[in-house]
């Protein structure tokens, strides 16, 4: 050991066959004393949020991964100065990566579950080349003659995702097995070159330097929230036949109602926004047309009508799009609904949305007005029959009581799953949402 007593803890596979996890938060800081089994951080995997206990006692010398980062199983996440006196065996680095530059004091540790050890890290004894192997099965065939490429299924998937032909990849694994690293390396090398430039005009721009070329593209790994969003959207867009309808609404009275609500004592401690009344308007429409709050059960060939509303609110966060929902939103009095909305938004912004918040939604609102646009064709949250997009509220010339006036106007866009919602139902829902927002007084304020 170069640094006596410094031990690293590698991210373990806390599920069965998980490959990565996000460090949600650290419970310790450099300089803190830790005991064995003291919780050092909270991580989120595809399956669960769990706390990780320290495997050894000592003083935290470094946090190797920032909170909010997703890392592969086997990545060292924390270094602890154990003073070399804890008497425990070396760190249980499950699958230390080659680039962690660990001193070679440890023998390779067994991999308990999940993917195999990366090739660079195995320190595997090389094959002896003293004669043909005694195996009856053929040794790794030469490139060009073989027909079957040796690679594990996840590696095949990776190659497929990256558009890499496995036959073209130079294998580095034992017996000519193509590894994950090989595929990545190949993909990186095969990066498309800039297309041949069109003939330059006489006054040519300076030729792009190497630095320019790399700056012209950026490759962002698809993982975490982005990966989830992509999968959900593909699933939804190519399963449910979408129809989108639009309605322009005079929301002047809604804007006034929001102002009045803010002055009421029961809303003193909570933010009231037009979104609150849009939510209530949608809940009113759902109450009138329960079939909009439904989903398609392909397996059982049934339409599942929900008698409760878990109202999803699409939220743009630093990590990407998430759609947490308010459970039983239809049963909440308006002040409680306001509080629930505020809490949900706050949790989403600070990244504390729990898995339970993200599941079980029945219908969704997406507030695209905050981005300064009017309308769109939102894609359904998978498993739901409708999604309402709310555009920005802008001053528009509008015919009001027979005269041309300047009014507050917003566009509503409602997408619905045409398998279970027909044009009539979808239109009625949209119209009712619009009617409530045009005249919000009674319905919105009286109910609940």
């Amino acid at each position: 050991m170069t640094q006596q007593g410094i031990r690293q803890f590698a991210l373990p596979d806390v599920g069965e066959g998980l490959t990565e996890a996000e460090i949600l938060s650290w419970a310790v800081q450099p300089g803190d004393e830790v005991k064995v089994n003291q919780v050092i951080c909270e991580i989120e995997t595809a399956k669960a949020v769990v706390e990780l206990p320290s495997p050894f006692p000592g003083r935290v010398s470094e946090l190797l991964v920032e909170a909010g980062t997703t890392v592969a199983v086997g990545t060292p996440i924390i270094a602890v100065d154990t003073g070399g006196a804890d008497g425990a065996p070396p760190a249980p680095a499950a699958a230390a990566s080659a680039d962690s530059a660990r001193p070679a004091e440890e023998k390779p540790e067994p991999v308990l579950v999940g993917y195999g050890v990366k090739s660079g890290a195995t320190r595997r004894r090389s094959r002896r080349r003293t004669g043909p192997p005694a195996l009856s099965r053929p040794a790794a065939p030469q490139r060009g003659t073989r027909t079957v490429v040796l690679a594990k299924p996840p590696v095949r998937k990776l190659a497929k995702d990256l558009g890499v032909d496995l036959h073209a990849v130079t294998p580095s694994g034992p017996n000519g097995i193509v590894t994950r690293e090989d595929v990545r390396r190949h993909a990186a090398q095969a990066e498309p070159q800039p297309a041949p430039r069109a003939p330059e005009p006489a006054v040519s721009a300076p030729a792009p330097t190497a630095a320019d070329r790399t700056a012209r593209e950026e490759r962002i790994p698809v993982r975490g929230v982005l990966k989830h969003m992509a999968a959900a959207m593909v699933d939804s867009a190519f399963t449910a036949p979408h129809v989108t309808e639009f309605l322009q609404v005079d929301v002047t009275r809604t804007v006034k109602a929001v102002r009045r609500l803010r002055e009421r004592p029961e809303f003193a401690d909570v933010k009231v926004s037009p979104l609150l009344l849009v939510a209530r308007a949608l809940l009113v429409a759902v109450r009138r047309h329960p079939r909009i709050n439904a989903s398609w059960d392909e397996a059982n060939q049934e339409v599942v009508v929900r008698h409760y509303v878990n109202l999803g609110i699409a939220a743009a966060t630093e990590r990407g799009l998430v759609v947490p929902n308010i459970k039983d939103a239809d049963r909440l009095p308006l002040p409680n609904l306001a509080r629930a909305l505020a809490e949900l938004t706050e949790k989403a912004r600070s990244g504390r949305t729990s898995p339970a918040d993200l599941t079980g939604g029945t219908i969704t609102i997406t507030n695209i007005g905050v981005f300064g646009v009017d309308g769109g064709t939102p894609i359904l949250n998978p498993g739901e029959a409708a999604i309402l997009a709310v555009g920005q509220i802008r001053d528009m010339p509008w015919v009001h009581k027979g005269k041309l006036k300047i009014r507050k106007v917003a566009t509503l866009s409602l997408s619905f799953d045409h398998r279970l919602v027909d044009g009539e139902l979808g239109s009625k829902v949209l119209r009712d949402v619009g009617a409530v927002l045009e005249n919000p007084k009674e319905l919105v304020l009286a109910w609940g």
Binding site: P12, V14, N37, V49, V50, P53, A88, P110, S126, A134
Partner: protein, 370 residues
Amino acid sequence: MSDSTAREEPELVQLLTPDGEYVPHPDYPFDPTPDHVRGLYRDLVLVRRLDAEAVALQRQGELGLWASLLGQEAAQIGSGRALQPQDMAFPSYREHGVAWCRGVTHRDLLAMFRGVTNGGWDPYEHNFHLYTIVIGSQTLHATGYAMGVQRDGALGPDGTAVITYFGDGATSQGDTNEAFNYAAVNNAPVVFFCQNNQWAISEPSERQTRAPIYRRAAGFGFPGLRVDGNDVFACLAVTRDALQRAREGQGPTLIEAFTYRMGAHTTSDDPTRYRASEEAEEWRRKDPIARVRSYLVREGMADDDFFAGVDAEAEKLGEQVRTDCRALPDPAPLDIFREVYAEPHSHLDQQRAEFADYLASFEGAEGAAR
């Protein structure tokens, strides 16, 4: 059955209230001597500590998986301590407390969850069968074993009884219901011990059964009862009674130990996704260890020194579990060839030779193939 019968509150055998008050039961005698109760307390605390350490070890990458018994200690220690040495137990995969009572070491348990053995211990050494991961199939093994006991003529006041452990989820399995029926028609000396911990992974027990589980026995023609699964006195007393009935040839009994899984189903599970924290809070007040401690204090059977001593012993056990887990040897690569078949055969020999040659083809492999 009329609606009113179906909904009446099931009777629950309880000897020790959550507040630690001992209430004798006319049918289930129990003698709470100081030594006895202190011993049970020690069992409960130590097995909880073992379990907590194993969960931590899994989180540190030392175990592939662990199924925590947190909250179910009383059901397991109570029933486990009711067993006689000659009795045979068929567990599922969470019965670390029963294993403890049968003398199966934590090393044996950990080896299986670390993946360095396929089984772990000799069932006949402890009269404790291997853990069964398949849901409910051990109830059939137990029934068959019990029928064997019967045919061996090993019944009588000092005869052999069989017990099998399963959960509320297993009661939906065909195997379990077949076992009930076979045991009933053959009058087999087997006790069906169901730990109803309310959750089959994420499925609540009300989606498992319409009637209380213990009442199912009546339909098969043998007695069933519900016991407070967080009451170690009651679990011990009712299990001892049921085992004795079995021993003496009076046939099977179904015991439904009404308890709660305080932790996750396994380390791969996140219960916050499907159940409310209020529910766990309510069960926390019924904790199986707290009530024994209250009883000991109330009766003046134990002082602070005793409790501190048990806690120190638990800490030591935790450290031992940690050290032993890390020291578990990996199996030799060729072991698999002698552990699958009882006797060698030529095809297996050929595979073994090929694999040995393959291993020997690595540099510095001398002696590695063993």
